[in-house]
């Protein structure tokens, strides 16, 4: 998978979704750590990652189809 395409797909997400992915994915934070870093409830971290990964999947698929 092309990194440029993944970066472009991330650019289509909301900043909230990118933030939670940066915490949990790039920084390897736990739910509790991400919740503290972002100032949101742990439950929100869980649901936000849930929607963020699905939004990312959709954006990647759309960009790939468009190429």
């Amino acid at each position: 998978m092309n990194r440029r395409l993944v970066a472009a797909a991330l650019g289509r997400l909301t900043q909230e979704h990118r933030d939670v992915l940066r915490e949990c994915c790039f920084r390897g934070s736990s739910v509790a750590q991400a919740a503290r870093a972002l100032g949101i409830a742990p439950g929100t971290v869980k649901t936000r990652t849930y929607y963020a990964l699905r939004a990312l999947r959709l954006a990647v698929e759309e960009l790939r189809d468009a190429e």
Binding site: R3, A7, R18, S30, V31, L53
Partner: protein
């Protein structure tokens, strides 16, 4: 969609963000819940895409640089704007008169529709195995009931093609009322607003039917609790 407390945990699990207790509980749940396994499978390949990316990709994307415009564009735009202004002066006079006569009608229409909080959308229940999901919210109106529907294809293994769906209401009187139709495309969320002269108590249930007439999703309108006779 569901009261399953594990239903939204798949991403945090894949990203290894759950604590040990929660991870074990989720894994035990996965063994017995087909729906959660399917949800997990949908996105299991996604975290690996993010491996090795630079942190900068998680920042706000840069603004797209504007493309240069031809030198002749500005004079042409100014000319066109001048013509448009002249046209509007005439139009404004006419519209002003029209607006004055509409104002009275607007007050009547706007006031009732802005009253009352929006009810929370409720999930529709599947009647058959289907890849369509929907939520529905009923709002009492002076003219009947407003129905706000959100409908989408679940993201699953078999990607369905676009299809036409219809919303029907079954009245407490036994009659069926067509409330409209829409085209559903995979990956797209359809927000569909409909309405009926029936009040909530006159609606027995609402159903979504597929093109062959088969009802696939239903929502039973909750009845106020009956006073028990003793």
């Amino acid at each position: 969609m569901t009261a399953d407390p594990y239903a939204r945990l798949d991403a945090a699990y894949l990203l290894e963000a759950l604590d040990a207790d929660e991870r074990l509980a989720y894994e035990a749940h996965l063994a017995i819940c087909r729906r959660c396994r399917a949800g997990l499978a949908e996105i299991s390949a996604i975290p690996s895409l993010l491996a090795g990316l630079d942190e900068s990709v998680f920042a706000a994307p840069p603004e797209v640089a504007p493309t240069p415009v031809p030198d002749t564009l500005l004079p042409r735009l100014l000319q066109a704007a001048g013509r448009e202004r002249a046209r509007r002066r005439w139009l404004t006079t006419g519209l002003g008169l029209l607006a004055a006569s509409c104002a009275i009608a607007l007050i009547v229409i706007v006031v009732p529709s802005s009253s009352g909080p929006k009810p929370a959308p409720r999930a529709m229940a599947a009647l058959v195995a289907t890849s369509v999901d929907a939520t529905i919210a009923l709002q009492p109106r002076s003219w009947g009931t407003e129905i706000d529907l959100t409908c989408w294809y679940q993201r699953g293994a078999a990607e369905p093609s676009s299809d036409r769906y219809e919303l029907v209401a079954h009245g407490a009187d036994g009659a069926t009322y067509d409330l409209g139709s829409w085209l559903l495309t995979p990956g797209q969320r359809v927000i569909f607003t409909s309405g009926t002269a029936l009040t909530e108590t006159q609606i027995k249930n609402l159903q979504i039917t597929q093109p062959n007439g088969l009802a696939i999703l239903a929502f039973g309108v909750p009845r106020p609790p009956q006073t028990a006779d003793r």
